[in-house]
């Protein structure tokens, strides 16, 4: 799990071009949107594509997005549960 979360952090930094941030700067339990990492709706689209491209996971119900993208940990848990 820790390994997956670290990998995920690196992928998010790269995909969202979070200049100046390192993996260790991102708290695994901090919220991704709003106050935490400060991501927005365009980033949400990028994260959906990242999950599909890197892990082969499609989010079929958009309403689930809020829960899945709450933090790095919830994303990693979702990947573990759904990875093909």
């Amino acid at each position: 799990m820790e390994e997956l979360m670290d990998k995920l952090k690196g992928e998010i930094i790269l995909q969202l071009n979070l200049e100046g941030l390192k993996n260790e700067d991102i708290d695994s339990d901090a919220t991704l949107f709003g106050e935490g990492l400060g991501l927005d709706s365009i980033d949400a689209l990028e994260l959906i594509v990242l999950l599909e491209k890197n892990y082969g996971i499609k989010i079929s119900n958009p309403a689930d997005g809020k829960k899945i993208f709450q933090s790095i940990r919830t994303m990693a848990e979702f990947i573990n549960e759904n990875k093909k």
Binding site: Q15, N17, E19, I42, E46, K53
Partner: protein, 354 residues
């Protein structure tokens, strides 16, 4: 149609950003591709927004921010830009993603940022400016078209201050492709040797420059922009000569009234004769300067020349690094820019001292 240049902001391969110094410290290269000396963007851009922006967007916004500050105008009555390549870095990103991912998994950011009007729209978003906003994409006439629209907007509307800019960026991939097409020199050339180069191709360049055009007179204005003229694919040298002399006649001037002519000499042996021919036939005794050894060649490079002309008139100096021969005039009242892109897009600007 005339306007005062009230403020300027420019990012270029020289140290021109956020300074009123006029090429006091020359940055010399030995290359066939010049890239901009980029500022630290955090001062001008929200980091959250900046991470999505390509270089040309960042350069454009930084240059426009300095121009707005320099002019003291908080809300321009129009924002008009000219660019030939637009946001090329982002265009490449999403086109490569289409290929690499077999037309799957396309993300929105690069596509959104790749449109040619991204710079003008981002400036408007930052300022919350709902006024006229337009971007011209006309290859070697892109910047000139923006300037012409700026002058017309000032004349035909209630507008008092119009922000006009030009920007283009070079990417490694675009350089490689266009070099294969023979655009650029195969060999590296030192900055001050470009004028004497006798090989085909020029040194590629890039940059972003913004000008606040205004109909308000002020002691702080840089210069008066009196005319811009475009001559597309002239059939003969006479057509260019007549274009220049007609423009001067319209403004009540002759070639003798021009104190300095700025040429777009690029070191490309195929095209530079057009400048030397005009110099020989029209401006044989006038002071001559040039600019593309400092900016490099690109479709909107005349924005660098316009900065150079405005600075000459404002400071009443012509730095040695841009002078061809000697400066024959102590008092510089009128400056003419003659430039062409690939000998197809010929342009003329006329500026006068305020």
């Amino acid at each position: 149609m005339e306007a005062f240049i009230k403020g300027i902001g420019i990012v270029s391969p020289q140290k021109t950003f956020n300074t009123h110094e006029f090429l006091t410290e020359l940055k010399e290269y030995n290359t066939n591709s010049l890239r901009c000396v980029e500022p630290v963007y955090t001062e001008f851009l929200n980091p959250v927004l900046a991470r999505r922006m390509g270089r040309t967007v960042k350069m454009g916004i930084a240059a426009s921010s300095v121009c707005l500050k320099d002019s003291g105008v908080e809300m321009p009555d129009a924002i008009i830009t000219g660019t030939a390549l637009g946001c090329h870095e982002d265009t490449e990103k999403f086109l490569l993603a289409i290929i690499d991912n077999d037309e799957q998994f396309l993300t929105p950011t690069s596509f959104m940022q790749s449109t040619h009007n991204t710079v003008s729209s981002q400036i408007a978003l930052q300022l919350k400016c709902m006024n006229y906003n337009f971007t011209y994409v006309h290859k070697g006439f892109s910047f000139e078209s923006a300037v012409l629209d700026g002058l017309m907007t000032l004349e035909d509307s209630d507008a008092k201050n119009v922000l006009v800019g030009g920007h283009d960026e070079m990417t490694d991939r675009h350089f490689t492709i266009t070099q294969r097409a023979g655009f650029w020199k195969q060999e590296n050339v030192a900055t001050m040797d470009i004028v004497n180069s006798k090989t085909p191709g020029s040194v590629s360049g890039e940059g972003a420059a913004f000008f606040m055009l205004s109909n308000e007179e002020s002691d702080k204005n840089y210069a008066k922009l009196r005319a811009v003229k475009m001559i597309f694919n002239p059939g003969s040298e006479d057509e260019i000569e007549n274009g220049i002399t007609d423009l001067l006649y319209e403004k009540g001037l002759t070639t003798d009234d021009i104190d300095c002519v700025i040429y777009g000499i690029s070191g490309d042996v195929r095209f530079d004769n057009s400048y030397y021919d005009i110099q020989k036939t029209l401006f044989n005794t006038n002071t001559a300067a040039y600019f593309k050894h400092l900016s490099g060649e690109y479709q909107t490079s005349s924005c660098f020349a316009l900065w150079e002309a405005a600075m000459i008139l404002k400071t009443q100096t012509i730095p040695k690094s841009i002078l061809i021969g000697e400066n024959k005039k102590k008092h510089i009242k009128n400056v003419l820019i003659y430039n062409n892109y690939m000998n197809t897009y010929h342009t003329v600007f006329l500026l006068s001292q305020c």
